[in-house]
Symmetry: C2
Subunit: 163 residues, 2 copies
Amino acid sequence: MSAPRVIQSQPLTRAAFAPFGDVIETNGAASFPINAGRTERFHALAAVETLGEDADAIISIFRGQPLEPLLIDLMERHPKGSQAFMPIGNEPYWVVVAPPGEFDPARVQVFYAKPGQGVNYHAGTWHAPLLPVNRDADFLVVDRRGPGDNCDTVDLAPPVRPE
Amino acid sequence: MSAPRVIQSQPLTRAAFAPFGDVIETNGAASFPINAGRTERFHALAAVETLGEDADAIISIFRGQPLEPLLIDLMERHPKGSQAFMPIGNEPYWVVVAPPGEFDPARVQVFYAKPGQGVNYHAGTWHAPLLPVNRDADFLVVDRRGPGDNCDTVDLAPPVRPE
């Protein structure tokens, strides 16, 4: 395996992440009261994309592991649907993405997602598989179920090491 | 307000909750490995219902408050879509439900949901508004966006006190 390419991470913010998807967090989001004022609704932080006939949105839990050594050598995309990840616990995770379209290794970016921050990859956004920073962690996942191939992968050479 | 009706809570389990919706938790759920074995996928613990034309699934965050005094005097249902709640933090919450169809106060049940347990109310299931047990708490919510009236309410008299 060739020497890794180190990519400096940036904080996960809505503005920086906009080309790739949505950030799911209350911080900086508009809200309105419901339930006679007892609940604050931070509304529609993300929309679920389910392209094609006979597709629907499903809710799953993914239990992810850190990588040791921390080398990302594969990315994937889901052309027919979005995929949202919300940490259930207090574990940060790496978000490694590249814009939709033909994969361009020069455009890979790394975000450091804090607990309380979810992401929703838009359909077609290239992303690395789920990657907690320190330890095994559970994430609520909302994505598409339906007919047709919905996963393309690409090899990363040299591999990327988030930092 | 009339004297409350105390309803003893039961633990939230898939079997007991089946008439009302899905329990979203890894405990007791099947899973399979993805991402070259680094992720365990507890697949499709719930499906999102979005009835009618031009509707889609959205992801929001609800920040709920406990009730003081703990008296539930209203329940609601969403005839056109499911509504899922997953605690982001470590706060338990009360799940107060009645079966779909004409509301029957005699069939109200109370579940105590632990951290790590989400619920997905099926379309039409009567439920009380979001109700953390002890303190303000955030929940990831997946529900329907679309045209048409999607919220019926009913008054509970006497009010219900979960215990």
